[in-house]
Protein backbone atom coordinates (compact mmCIF):
# COMPACT_ATOMS: atom_id res chain seq x y z
CA UNK A 1 0.00 0.00 0.00
CA UNK A 2 0.93 3.63 -0.42
CA UNK A 3 2.73 5.32 2.42
CA UNK A 4 0.97 7.93 4.52
CA UNK A 5 2.65 10.88 2.82
CA UNK A 6 1.94 9.59 -0.68
CA UNK A 7 -1.69 9.11 0.22
CA UNK A 8 -1.89 12.59 1.68
CA UNK A 9 -0.31 14.08 -1.44
CA UNK A 10 -2.67 12.19 -3.72
CA UNK A 11 -5.69 13.19 -1.67
CA UNK A 12 -4.61 16.84 -1.71
CA UNK A 13 -4.19 16.64 -5.47
CA UNK A 14 -7.67 15.15 -5.86
CA UNK A 15 -9.20 17.96 -3.78
CA UNK A 16 -7.35 20.61 -5.78
CA UNK A 17 -8.56 19.15 -9.08
CA UNK A 18 -12.13 19.00 -7.80
CA UNK A 19 -11.88 22.68 -6.86
CA UNK A 20 -10.44 23.41 -10.29
CA UNK A 21 -13.38 21.61 -11.91
CA UNK A 22 -16.14 23.14 -9.83
CA UNK A 23 -15.11 26.67 -8.82
CA UNK A 24 -15.75 28.11 -12.31
CA UNK A 25 -19.21 26.56 -12.45
CA UNK A 26 -20.18 27.71 -8.97
CA UNK A 27 -18.78 31.14 -9.71
CA UNK A 28 -21.13 31.59 -12.65
CA UNK A 29 -24.12 30.72 -10.50
CA UNK A 30 -22.94 33.34 -7.99
CA UNK A 31 -22.40 35.99 -10.67
CA UNK A 32 -26.02 35.57 -11.76
CA UNK A 33 -26.97 37.30 -8.48
CA UNK A 34 -24.60 40.22 -9.05
CA UNK A 35 -26.33 43.49 -8.16
CA UNK A 36 -24.03 45.55 -10.37
CA UNK A 37 -23.70 45.45 -14.13
CA UNK A 38 -19.91 45.45 -13.84
CA UNK A 39 -18.36 42.00 -13.75
CA UNK A 40 -15.74 42.40 -11.05
CA UNK A 41 -14.86 40.37 -7.99
CA UNK A 42 -15.83 40.63 -5.16
CA UNK A 43 -19.44 41.37 -6.06
CA UNK A 44 -20.62 44.72 -4.65
CA UNK A 45 -23.94 43.18 -3.62
CA UNK A 46 -26.47 40.49 -4.33
CA UNK A 47 -29.72 40.89 -6.21
CA UNK A 48 -32.19 38.89 -8.25
CA UNK A 49 -33.08 41.78 -10.52
CA UNK A 50 -31.31 40.34 -13.58
CA UNK A 51 -33.49 37.26 -13.50
CA UNK A 52 -36.60 39.34 -14.14
CA UNK A 53 -34.81 41.46 -16.75
CA UNK A 54 -33.64 38.35 -18.56
CA UNK A 55 -37.03 36.68 -18.45
CA UNK A 56 -38.71 39.77 -19.93
CA UNK A 57 -36.19 40.16 -22.75
CA UNK A 58 -37.89 39.29 -26.07
CA UNK A 59 -34.58 38.48 -27.80
CA UNK A 60 -33.59 35.97 -25.13
CA UNK A 61 -37.08 34.48 -25.10
CA UNK A 62 -36.96 33.99 -28.86
CA UNK A 63 -33.57 32.28 -28.51
CA UNK A 64 -34.89 30.03 -25.75
CA UNK A 65 -37.91 29.11 -27.83
CA UNK A 66 -35.74 28.26 -30.84
CA UNK A 67 -33.40 26.18 -28.68
CA UNK A 68 -36.29 24.25 -27.18
CA UNK A 69 -38.03 23.67 -30.50
CA UNK A 70 -34.86 22.63 -32.32
CA UNK A 71 -33.70 20.51 -29.36
CA UNK A 72 -37.00 18.69 -28.91
CA UNK A 73 -37.45 18.04 -32.64
CA UNK A 74 -33.87 16.80 -33.03
CA UNK A 75 -34.30 14.61 -29.95
CA UNK A 76 -37.50 13.12 -31.37
CA UNK A 77 -35.88 12.34 -34.71
CA UNK A 78 -32.75 10.96 -33.08
CA UNK A 79 -34.93 8.79 -30.86
CA UNK A 80 -36.66 7.13 -33.81
CA UNK A 81 -33.57 6.80 -36.02
CA UNK A 82 -31.21 5.75 -33.22
CA UNK A 83 -33.63 3.12 -31.86
CA UNK A 84 -34.26 1.70 -35.35
CA UNK A 85 -30.54 1.32 -35.88
CA UNK A 86 -30.00 -0.28 -32.46
CA UNK A 87 -32.78 -2.83 -33.10
CA UNK A 88 -31.32 -3.63 -36.50
CA UNK A 89 -27.73 -4.23 -35.48
CA UNK A 90 -28.33 -5.99 -32.16
CA UNK A 91 -28.02 -9.41 -33.77
CA UNK A 92 -25.66 -8.41 -36.51
CA UNK A 93 -22.18 -9.83 -36.93
CA UNK A 94 -19.30 -7.99 -35.40
CA UNK A 95 -18.13 -6.40 -38.63
CA UNK A 96 -21.51 -5.00 -39.67
CA UNK A 97 -22.14 -3.60 -36.22
CA UNK A 98 -18.72 -1.96 -36.08
CA UNK A 99 -19.25 -0.23 -39.41
CA UNK A 100 -22.63 1.16 -38.37
CA UNK A 101 -21.30 2.25 -34.97
CA UNK A 102 -18.31 3.96 -36.54
CA UNK A 103 -20.53 5.78 -39.01
CA UNK A 104 -22.83 7.10 -36.29
CA UNK A 105 -20.02 8.30 -34.06
CA UNK A 106 -18.30 10.23 -36.87
CA UNK A 107 -20.13 13.54 -36.31
CA UNK A 108 -18.90 13.59 -32.72
CA UNK A 109 -15.47 12.13 -33.41
CA UNK A 110 -14.52 14.50 -36.21
CA UNK A 111 -13.63 18.04 -35.15
CA UNK A 112 -16.90 20.02 -34.85
CA UNK A 113 -15.77 22.55 -37.42
CA UNK A 114 -15.57 19.77 -40.03
CA UNK A 115 -19.12 18.54 -39.43
CA UNK A 116 -20.47 22.09 -39.37
CA UNK A 117 -18.56 23.09 -42.46
CA UNK A 118 -19.64 19.95 -44.36
CA UNK A 119 -23.32 20.47 -43.55
CA UNK A 120 -23.06 24.18 -44.34
CA UNK A 121 -21.71 23.55 -47.85
CA UNK A 122 -24.24 20.74 -48.35
CA UNK A 123 -27.14 23.11 -47.63
CA UNK A 124 -25.68 25.85 -49.83
CA UNK A 125 -24.96 23.46 -52.66
CA UNK A 126 -28.55 22.23 -52.62
CA UNK A 127 -29.98 25.74 -52.35
CA UNK A 128 -31.47 25.12 -48.90
CA UNK A 129 -31.93 28.31 -46.86
CA UNK A 130 -30.58 28.06 -43.32
CA UNK A 131 -33.43 27.94 -40.80
CA UNK A 132 -34.60 26.03 -37.75
CA UNK A 133 -34.81 22.94 -39.98
CA UNK A 134 -31.14 23.03 -40.90
CA UNK A 135 -30.36 23.27 -37.17
CA UNK A 136 -32.61 20.26 -36.57
CA UNK A 137 -30.83 18.27 -39.30
CA UNK A 138 -27.41 19.13 -37.86
CA UNK A 139 -28.37 18.32 -34.28
CA UNK A 140 -30.15 15.08 -35.21
CA UNK A 141 -27.03 13.93 -37.02
CA UNK A 142 -24.84 14.10 -33.93
CA UNK A 143 -27.59 13.07 -31.47
CA UNK A 144 -28.42 9.74 -33.14
CA UNK A 145 -25.33 8.06 -31.72
CA UNK A 146 -26.33 8.91 -28.15
CA UNK A 147 -29.70 7.16 -28.42
CA UNK A 148 -28.20 4.34 -30.48
CA UNK A 149 -25.49 3.58 -27.92
CA UNK A 150 -27.86 3.57 -24.97
CA UNK A 151 -30.54 1.42 -26.60
CA UNK A 152 -28.02 -0.99 -28.13
CA UNK A 153 -26.27 -1.50 -24.79
CA UNK A 154 -29.60 -2.34 -23.15
CA UNK A 155 -30.75 -4.65 -25.95
CA UNK A 156 -27.56 -6.63 -25.74
CA UNK A 157 -28.07 -7.17 -22.03
CA UNK A 158 -31.70 -8.20 -22.53
CA UNK A 159 -32.35 -11.90 -22.80
CA UNK A 160 -33.79 -13.01 -26.12
CA UNK A 161 -35.59 -15.85 -24.32
CA UNK A 162 -38.09 -13.42 -22.81
CA UNK A 163 -39.19 -12.33 -26.26
CA UNK A 164 -39.30 -15.90 -27.53
CA UNK A 165 -41.41 -16.90 -24.51
CA UNK A 166 -43.93 -14.14 -25.31
CA UNK A 167 -44.11 -15.33 -28.90
CA UNK A 168 -44.55 -18.95 -27.78
CA UNK A 169 -47.44 -17.87 -25.58
CA UNK A 170 -49.19 -16.49 -28.66
CA UNK A 171 -48.34 -12.79 -28.54
CA UNK A 172 -47.94 -11.22 -31.96
CA UNK A 173 -45.08 -8.96 -32.87
CA UNK A 174 -46.77 -5.80 -31.70
CA UNK A 175 -47.91 -7.26 -28.39
CA UNK A 176 -44.44 -8.63 -27.70
CA UNK A 177 -42.93 -5.26 -28.46
CA UNK A 178 -45.43 -3.36 -26.30
CA UNK A 179 -45.51 -5.71 -23.31
CA UNK A 180 -42.00 -7.15 -23.21
CA UNK A 181 -39.41 -5.26 -25.25
CA UNK A 182 -40.58 -1.72 -24.57
CA UNK A 183 -40.69 -1.99 -20.75
CA UNK A 184 -37.24 -3.59 -20.81
CA UNK A 185 -35.64 -0.84 -22.86
CA UNK A 186 -37.80 2.11 -21.72
CA UNK A 187 -35.29 3.59 -19.28
CA UNK A 188 -32.47 3.30 -21.83
CA UNK A 189 -34.60 5.09 -24.43
CA UNK A 190 -35.50 7.87 -21.98
CA UNK A 191 -31.86 8.20 -20.92
CA UNK A 192 -30.78 8.42 -24.54
CA UNK A 193 -33.37 11.10 -25.20
CA UNK A 194 -32.27 13.13 -22.16
CA UNK A 195 -28.64 13.03 -23.23
CA UNK A 196 -29.52 13.89 -26.83
CA UNK A 197 -31.48 16.90 -25.63
CA UNK A 198 -28.67 18.03 -23.34
CA UNK A 199 -26.20 17.69 -26.21
CA UNK A 200 -28.40 19.67 -28.57
CA UNK A 201 -29.34 22.35 -26.07
CA UNK A 202 -25.76 23.50 -25.53
CA UNK A 203 -24.13 22.89 -28.94
CA UNK A 204 -22.35 25.89 -30.49
CA UNK A 205 -19.73 24.86 -33.03
CA UNK A 206 -21.95 23.03 -35.53
CA UNK A 207 -24.90 25.33 -34.78
CA UNK A 208 -23.09 28.54 -35.77
CA UNK A 209 -22.59 27.03 -39.21
CA UNK A 210 -26.08 25.60 -39.76
CA UNK A 211 -28.20 28.34 -38.15
CA UNK A 212 -29.58 31.17 -40.23
CA UNK A 213 -30.20 34.63 -38.85
CA UNK A 214 -31.96 33.28 -35.76
CA UNK A 215 -30.11 32.64 -32.51
CA UNK A 216 -30.33 29.59 -30.30
CA UNK A 217 -29.59 30.24 -26.63
CA UNK A 218 -25.90 29.24 -26.85
CA UNK A 219 -25.54 31.33 -30.02
CA UNK A 220 -27.02 34.31 -28.20
CA UNK A 221 -24.52 33.79 -25.35
CA UNK A 222 -21.66 33.46 -27.84
CA UNK A 223 -22.64 36.69 -29.59
CA UNK A 224 -23.10 38.66 -26.39
CA UNK A 225 -19.86 37.46 -24.78
CA UNK A 226 -17.93 38.08 -27.98
CA UNK A 227 -19.08 41.69 -28.05
CA UNK A 228 -18.80 41.99 -24.27
CA UNK A 229 -22.37 43.24 -24.11
CA UNK A 230 -25.26 42.49 -21.79
CA UNK A 231 -23.10 40.42 -19.48
CA UNK A 232 -25.53 40.56 -16.49
CA UNK A 233 -28.14 38.81 -18.63
CA UNK A 234 -25.47 36.43 -19.94
CA UNK A 235 -24.75 35.36 -16.34
CA UNK A 236 -28.40 34.46 -15.81
CA UNK A 237 -28.80 32.70 -19.17
CA UNK A 238 -25.58 30.74 -18.70
CA UNK A 239 -26.67 29.58 -15.23
CA UNK A 240 -29.96 28.50 -16.74
CA UNK A 241 -28.24 26.57 -19.54
CA UNK A 242 -26.01 24.80 -17.00
CA UNK A 243 -29.07 23.64 -15.05
CA UNK A 244 -30.99 22.61 -18.18
CA UNK A 245 -28.08 20.47 -19.40
CA UNK A 246 -27.12 18.98 -16.03
CA UNK A 247 -30.61 17.94 -14.88
CA UNK A 248 -31.38 15.63 -17.85
CA UNK A 249 -27.92 14.10 -17.56
CA UNK A 250 -28.40 13.43 -13.86
CA UNK A 251 -31.73 11.74 -14.64
CA UNK A 252 -30.12 9.73 -17.45
CA UNK A 253 -27.33 8.64 -15.11
CA UNK A 254 -29.87 7.36 -12.59
CA UNK A 255 -31.84 5.50 -15.26
CA UNK A 256 -28.82 3.69 -16.66
CA UNK A 257 -26.85 3.31 -13.47
CA UNK A 258 -24.29 5.75 -14.82
CA UNK A 259 -23.10 3.59 -17.69
CA UNK A 260 -25.03 5.37 -20.43
CA UNK A 261 -23.60 8.75 -19.56
CA UNK A 262 -20.03 7.52 -19.66
CA UNK A 263 -20.39 5.63 -22.88
CA UNK A 264 -21.70 8.67 -24.64
CA UNK A 265 -18.97 10.89 -23.39
CA UNK A 266 -16.22 8.49 -24.26
CA UNK A 267 -17.27 8.83 -27.86
CA UNK A 268 -17.94 12.51 -27.99
Amino acid sequence: MEGFLTKLALRTWAVLILLFLFIPIILILVYAFNSSNIESWPLPGLSTKWFAATWDDPEIRAALELSLRAGLTATGLALVLGSCAAFAVQRMTFFGRDVVSLLFVLPLALPGIVTGMALNSFFHFNGITLSIWTIVVGHTTFCIVVVYNNVLARLRRTQGSLIEAAMDLGANGFQTFRDITLPLIATAVVAGAMLAFALSFDEVIVTTLVAGAQNTLPLWIFGAVRLGQRLPEVNVVVSFVILVTIVPVAIAARLTGGSGVVRTQAER
Binding site: L21, F125, D202, F222, V225, Q265
Partner: protein
Protein backbone atom coordinates in the same frame (compact mmCIF):
# COMPACT_ATOMS: atom_id res chain seq x y z
CA UNK B 1 -40.24 -0.71 -35.19
CA UNK B 2 -40.92 -2.41 -38.51
CA UNK B 3 -42.56 -5.14 -36.54
CA UNK B 4 -45.24 -2.97 -35.04
CA UNK B 5 -45.62 -1.12 -38.29
CA UNK B 6 -46.76 -4.41 -39.76
CA UNK B 7 -50.31 -4.08 -38.49
CA UNK B 8 -52.72 -3.38 -35.68
CA UNK B 9 -52.72 -5.85 -32.85
CA UNK B 10 -55.16 -8.65 -33.52
CA UNK B 11 -57.33 -9.95 -30.75
CA UNK B 12 -56.77 -13.53 -31.83
CA UNK B 13 -53.01 -13.31 -31.14
CA UNK B 14 -50.39 -14.95 -33.29
CA UNK B 15 -48.51 -13.31 -36.09
CA UNK B 16 -49.92 -11.69 -39.21
CA UNK B 17 -48.57 -12.85 -42.57
CA UNK B 18 -46.31 -9.81 -42.76
CA UNK B 19 -44.97 -10.44 -39.28
CA UNK B 20 -44.27 -14.07 -40.12
CA UNK B 21 -42.49 -12.99 -43.26
CA UNK B 22 -40.30 -10.61 -41.29
CA UNK B 23 -39.62 -13.26 -38.69
CA UNK B 24 -38.63 -15.83 -41.29
CA UNK B 25 -36.46 -13.39 -43.22
CA UNK B 26 -34.36 -11.54 -40.60
CA UNK B 27 -32.37 -9.72 -43.27
CA UNK B 28 -35.60 -8.11 -44.50
CA UNK B 29 -36.42 -6.94 -41.00
CA UNK B 30 -32.90 -5.62 -40.49
CA UNK B 31 -32.97 -3.81 -43.84
CA UNK B 32 -36.29 -2.13 -43.06
CA UNK B 33 -34.99 -1.01 -39.67
CA UNK B 34 -31.63 0.16 -40.96
CA UNK B 35 -32.99 2.00 -43.97
CA UNK B 36 -34.12 5.24 -42.22
CA UNK B 37 -31.02 5.84 -40.04
CA UNK B 38 -28.53 4.70 -42.66
CA UNK B 39 -30.38 6.65 -45.34
CA UNK B 40 -30.18 9.75 -43.18
CA UNK B 41 -26.47 9.32 -42.66
CA UNK B 42 -25.58 8.45 -46.23
CA UNK B 43 -27.81 11.02 -47.93
CA UNK B 44 -27.06 13.90 -45.57
CA UNK B 45 -23.88 13.34 -43.61
CA UNK B 46 -21.66 11.28 -45.88
CA UNK B 47 -22.88 13.31 -48.86
CA UNK B 48 -21.88 16.48 -46.98
CA UNK B 49 -18.43 15.13 -46.17
CA UNK B 50 -17.94 14.02 -49.77
CA UNK B 51 -19.07 17.40 -51.03
CA UNK B 52 -16.66 19.07 -48.62
CA UNK B 53 -13.80 17.03 -50.00
CA UNK B 54 -14.78 17.79 -53.58
CA UNK B 55 -15.27 21.51 -52.92
CA UNK B 56 -11.73 21.70 -51.58
CA UNK B 57 -10.47 21.13 -55.13
CA UNK B 58 -12.60 23.91 -56.60
CA UNK B 59 -12.05 27.64 -56.40
CA UNK B 60 -14.01 30.86 -56.37
CA UNK B 61 -14.04 33.49 -59.06
CA UNK B 62 -12.47 36.53 -57.44
CA UNK B 63 -14.80 38.92 -59.31
CA UNK B 64 -18.15 37.24 -58.93
CA UNK B 65 -17.32 35.28 -55.73
CA UNK B 66 -19.18 32.37 -57.30
CA UNK B 67 -17.78 28.87 -56.91
CA UNK B 68 -16.14 27.64 -60.12
CA UNK B 69 -16.06 23.90 -60.53
CA UNK B 70 -12.58 23.82 -61.97
CA UNK B 71 -10.39 21.09 -60.54
CA UNK B 72 -7.09 22.27 -59.15
CA UNK B 73 -4.79 22.05 -56.16
CA UNK B 74 -4.40 25.80 -55.60
CA UNK B 75 -6.11 25.80 -52.20
CA UNK B 76 -3.80 23.10 -50.87
CA UNK B 77 -0.78 24.80 -52.41
CA UNK B 78 -1.61 28.02 -50.57
CA UNK B 79 -2.21 26.20 -47.29
CA UNK B 80 1.06 24.30 -47.45
CA UNK B 81 3.28 27.06 -48.86
CA UNK B 82 1.94 30.34 -47.47
CA UNK B 83 3.84 31.06 -44.23
CA UNK B 84 0.70 32.59 -42.67
CA UNK B 85 -1.24 29.35 -42.87
CA UNK B 86 1.75 27.25 -41.88
CA UNK B 87 2.04 29.41 -38.79
CA UNK B 88 -1.65 29.01 -37.99
CA UNK B 89 -1.53 25.23 -38.44
CA UNK B 90 1.64 25.01 -36.36
CA UNK B 91 0.11 27.16 -33.63
CA UNK B 92 -3.03 25.03 -33.50
CA UNK B 93 -1.07 21.78 -33.30
CA UNK B 94 1.25 23.22 -30.63
CA UNK B 95 -1.74 24.28 -28.51
CA UNK B 96 -3.42 20.89 -28.93
CA UNK B 97 -0.19 19.17 -27.88
CA UNK B 98 0.34 21.47 -24.88
CA UNK B 99 -3.24 20.93 -23.71
CA UNK B 100 -2.94 17.15 -24.13
CA UNK B 101 0.29 16.95 -22.13
CA UNK B 102 -1.11 19.22 -19.39
CA UNK B 103 -4.27 17.17 -19.07
CA UNK B 104 -2.32 13.90 -18.98
CA UNK B 105 -0.11 15.23 -16.17
CA UNK B 106 -3.10 16.48 -14.18
CA UNK B 107 -5.20 13.37 -14.80
CA UNK B 108 -2.64 10.68 -14.00
CA UNK B 109 -2.31 11.24 -10.23
CA UNK B 110 -6.01 12.01 -9.96
CA UNK B 111 -7.00 8.81 -11.77
CA UNK B 112 -4.47 6.88 -9.69
CA UNK B 113 -6.07 8.18 -6.52
CA UNK B 114 -9.54 7.34 -7.85
CA UNK B 115 -8.69 3.83 -9.00
CA UNK B 116 -6.23 2.60 -6.40
CA UNK B 117 -6.44 4.62 -3.18
CA UNK B 118 -9.98 5.94 -2.74
CA UNK B 119 -12.68 3.83 -1.11
CA UNK B 120 -15.44 2.37 -3.29
CA UNK B 121 -17.85 5.11 -2.22
CA UNK B 122 -15.39 7.95 -2.84
CA UNK B 123 -14.62 6.38 -6.20
CA UNK B 124 -18.27 6.58 -7.27
CA UNK B 125 -18.57 10.15 -6.01
CA UNK B 126 -15.40 11.27 -7.78
CA UNK B 127 -16.58 9.62 -10.95
CA UNK B 128 -19.83 11.59 -10.88
CA UNK B 129 -17.90 14.74 -9.97
CA UNK B 130 -15.73 14.37 -13.07
CA UNK B 131 -18.66 13.68 -15.37
CA UNK B 132 -20.83 16.52 -14.18
CA UNK B 133 -18.72 19.45 -15.47
CA UNK B 134 -18.40 17.65 -18.79
CA UNK B 135 -22.12 17.95 -19.32
CA UNK B 136 -22.45 21.45 -17.90
CA UNK B 137 -22.69 23.63 -20.98
CA UNK B 138 -19.46 24.10 -22.94
CA UNK B 139 -20.00 27.80 -23.63
CA UNK B 140 -20.86 28.40 -19.98
CA UNK B 141 -17.58 26.92 -18.86
CA UNK B 142 -15.56 28.98 -21.35
CA UNK B 143 -17.37 32.10 -20.23
CA UNK B 144 -16.69 31.39 -16.55
CA UNK B 145 -12.96 31.73 -17.25
CA UNK B 146 -13.46 35.17 -18.73
CA UNK B 147 -14.93 36.17 -15.38
CA UNK B 148 -12.01 34.57 -13.54
CA UNK B 149 -9.14 35.83 -15.69
CA UNK B 150 -10.26 39.35 -16.54
CA UNK B 151 -8.50 42.34 -15.04
CA UNK B 152 -10.83 42.71 -12.05
CA UNK B 153 -11.68 39.03 -11.82
CA UNK B 154 -11.33 36.37 -9.14
CA UNK B 155 -7.74 35.46 -10.03
CA UNK B 156 -6.29 38.92 -9.59
CA UNK B 157 -8.34 39.50 -6.46
CA UNK B 158 -7.00 36.24 -4.96
CA UNK B 159 -3.43 37.12 -5.91
CA UNK B 160 -3.72 40.57 -4.40
CA UNK B 161 -5.23 39.30 -1.19
CA UNK B 162 -2.16 37.13 -0.60
CA UNK B 163 0.11 40.00 -1.54
CA UNK B 164 1.13 39.00 -5.05
CA UNK B 165 1.11 41.25 -8.10
CA UNK B 166 -1.84 40.79 -10.51
CA UNK B 167 -1.37 38.30 -13.33
CA UNK B 168 -2.86 39.87 -16.41
CA UNK B 169 -3.27 36.74 -18.46
CA UNK B 170 -6.78 37.43 -19.77
CA UNK B 171 -6.94 37.26 -23.58
CA UNK B 172 -3.55 35.58 -24.09
CA UNK B 173 -2.23 32.19 -25.16
CA UNK B 174 -1.90 31.32 -21.48
CA UNK B 175 -5.62 31.98 -21.01
CA UNK B 176 -6.43 29.74 -23.97
CA UNK B 177 -4.15 27.02 -22.67
CA UNK B 178 -5.83 27.12 -19.22
CA UNK B 179 -9.35 27.14 -20.65
CA UNK B 180 -8.72 24.31 -23.11
CA UNK B 181 -7.03 22.22 -20.40
CA UNK B 182 -9.97 22.88 -18.10
CA UNK B 183 -12.69 22.06 -20.59
CA UNK B 184 -11.23 18.81 -21.88
CA UNK B 185 -9.77 17.50 -18.60
CA UNK B 186 -12.64 15.03 -17.86
CA UNK B 187 -12.07 13.44 -21.27
CA UNK B 188 -8.56 12.56 -20.12
CA UNK B 189 -9.45 11.49 -16.57
CA UNK B 190 -12.15 8.97 -17.50
CA UNK B 191 -10.19 6.66 -19.87
CA UNK B 192 -7.06 6.94 -17.71
CA UNK B 193 -9.07 5.92 -14.66
CA UNK B 194 -10.73 3.08 -16.57
CA UNK B 195 -7.38 1.70 -17.70
CA UNK B 196 -5.86 1.99 -14.22
CA UNK B 197 -8.78 0.33 -12.53
CA UNK B 198 -8.20 -2.73 -14.70
CA UNK B 199 -4.66 -3.23 -13.36
CA UNK B 200 -5.07 -6.08 -10.83
CA UNK B 201 -3.78 -5.40 -7.33
CA UNK B 202 -2.03 -8.78 -7.45
CA UNK B 203 0.40 -7.40 -10.04
CA UNK B 204 1.36 -4.67 -7.60
CA UNK B 205 1.78 -7.25 -4.84
CA UNK B 206 3.92 -9.37 -7.13
CA UNK B 207 6.09 -6.36 -7.86
CA UNK B 208 6.39 -5.68 -4.13
CA UNK B 209 7.28 -9.32 -3.45
CA UNK B 210 10.01 -9.06 -6.04
CA UNK B 211 11.44 -6.16 -4.10
CA UNK B 212 10.08 -3.18 -6.02
CA UNK B 213 9.14 -0.15 -3.99
CA UNK B 214 5.73 1.39 -4.63
CA UNK B 215 7.15 4.15 -6.84
CA UNK B 216 9.00 1.60 -8.95
CA UNK B 217 5.89 -0.56 -9.23
CA UNK B 218 3.86 2.44 -10.37
CA UNK B 219 6.47 3.30 -12.98
CA UNK B 220 7.04 -0.23 -14.29
CA UNK B 221 3.60 -1.79 -13.82
CA UNK B 222 0.81 0.81 -13.64
CA UNK B 223 2.27 3.30 -16.10
CA UNK B 224 2.68 0.91 -19.05
CA UNK B 225 -0.70 -0.69 -18.41
CA UNK B 226 -2.46 2.68 -18.05
CA UNK B 227 -0.76 4.19 -21.07
CA UNK B 228 -3.43 3.05 -23.58
CA UNK B 229 -5.99 4.87 -21.41
CA UNK B 230 -3.93 8.05 -21.47
CA UNK B 231 -3.54 7.76 -25.24
CA UNK B 232 -7.29 7.20 -25.60
CA UNK B 233 -7.90 10.36 -23.57
CA UNK B 234 -5.38 12.25 -25.66
CA UNK B 235 -7.40 11.48 -28.81
CA UNK B 236 -10.21 13.59 -27.37
CA UNK B 237 -8.13 16.41 -25.91
CA UNK B 238 -6.11 16.68 -29.12
CA UNK B 239 -9.00 16.44 -31.58
CA UNK B 240 -11.30 18.75 -29.65
CA UNK B 241 -8.63 21.45 -29.34
CA UNK B 242 -7.74 21.08 -33.01
CA UNK B 243 -11.29 21.74 -34.19
CA UNK B 244 -12.28 24.46 -31.76
CA UNK B 245 -12.69 28.10 -32.74
CA UNK B 246 -15.04 29.37 -30.04
CA UNK B 247 -12.44 29.41 -27.27
CA UNK B 248 -9.85 31.30 -29.37
CA UNK B 249 -12.48 33.90 -30.24
CA UNK B 250 -13.70 34.34 -26.66
CA UNK B 251 -10.54 34.06 -24.54
CA UNK B 252 -7.69 34.38 -27.03
CA UNK B 253 -6.17 37.76 -27.71
CA UNK B 254 -5.49 39.48 -30.99
CA UNK B 255 -3.63 37.22 -33.41
CA UNK B 256 -4.64 33.99 -31.70
CA UNK B 257 -6.09 32.62 -34.92
CA UNK B 258 -6.57 28.85 -35.11
CA UNK B 259 -7.38 26.59 -38.07
CA UNK B 260 -11.03 26.66 -37.03
CA UNK B 261 -11.13 30.47 -37.02
CA UNK B 262 -9.85 30.70 -40.57
CA UNK B 263 -12.35 28.09 -41.70
CA UNK B 264 -15.16 29.90 -39.92
CA UNK B 265 -14.32 33.32 -41.35
CA UNK B 266 -13.97 31.87 -44.85
CA UNK B 267 -17.44 30.39 -44.65
CA UNK B 268 -18.93 33.60 -43.36
CA UNK B 269 -17.34 36.95 -44.06
CA UNK B 270 -14.78 36.07 -46.72
CA UNK B 271 -17.19 33.65 -48.39
CA UNK B 272 -14.47 31.45 -49.86
CA UNK B 273 -16.02 28.06 -49.23
CA UNK B 274 -13.54 26.04 -51.36
CA UNK B 275 -10.61 27.41 -49.37
CA UNK B 276 -12.42 26.79 -46.07
CA UNK B 277 -13.14 23.23 -47.19
CA UNK B 278 -9.50 22.63 -48.08
CA UNK B 279 -8.40 23.98 -44.72
CA UNK B 280 -10.97 21.84 -42.90
CA UNK B 281 -9.32 18.72 -44.32
CA UNK B 282 -6.15 19.62 -42.41
CA UNK B 283 -7.48 18.69 -38.92
CA UNK B 284 -9.02 15.56 -40.42
CA UNK B 285 -5.68 14.53 -41.91
CA UNK B 286 -3.85 15.28 -38.65
CA UNK B 287 -6.40 13.25 -36.67
CA UNK B 288 -6.11 10.36 -39.12
CA UNK B 289 -2.35 10.22 -38.53
CA UNK B 290 -2.90 10.59 -34.80
CA UNK B 291 -5.42 7.73 -34.74
CA UNK B 292 -3.04 5.43 -36.63
CA UNK B 293 -0.40 6.17 -34.01
CA UNK B 294 -2.90 5.69 -31.18
CA UNK B 295 -4.02 2.34 -32.56
CA UNK B 296 -0.42 1.10 -32.47
CA UNK B 297 -0.28 2.02 -28.77
CA UNK B 298 -3.44 0.00 -28.10
CA UNK B 299 -5.64 2.98 -27.32
CA UNK B 300 -8.73 1.50 -28.98
CA UNK B 301 -8.91 -1.40 -26.56
CA UNK B 302 -8.95 1.17 -23.75
CA UNK B 303 -11.91 3.14 -25.04
Amino acid sequence: MAVEAAGRPRKTGGASPIQSLLWRRPWLRISLLLLPPLGWFVLIYLASLALLLVTAFWQINSFTTQIEQVWNLDNFRIILLDPTYRLIIGRTIAMAAAVTVTDALIAFPFAYYMARVASRRTQTLLFAAVLLPLWASYIARVYSWILILNHSGVLNWSLQSIGLPPANIGYTYVAMWIVFSYIWLPFMIIPTYAAMERVPESLMEAAADLGARRARAVRDVVLPLALPGVVAGSIFTFSLTLGDYITPILVGGAGSTFIGNVVYSNVGIANNVPFAAALATVPVAIMALYLIGAKRLGAFEAL
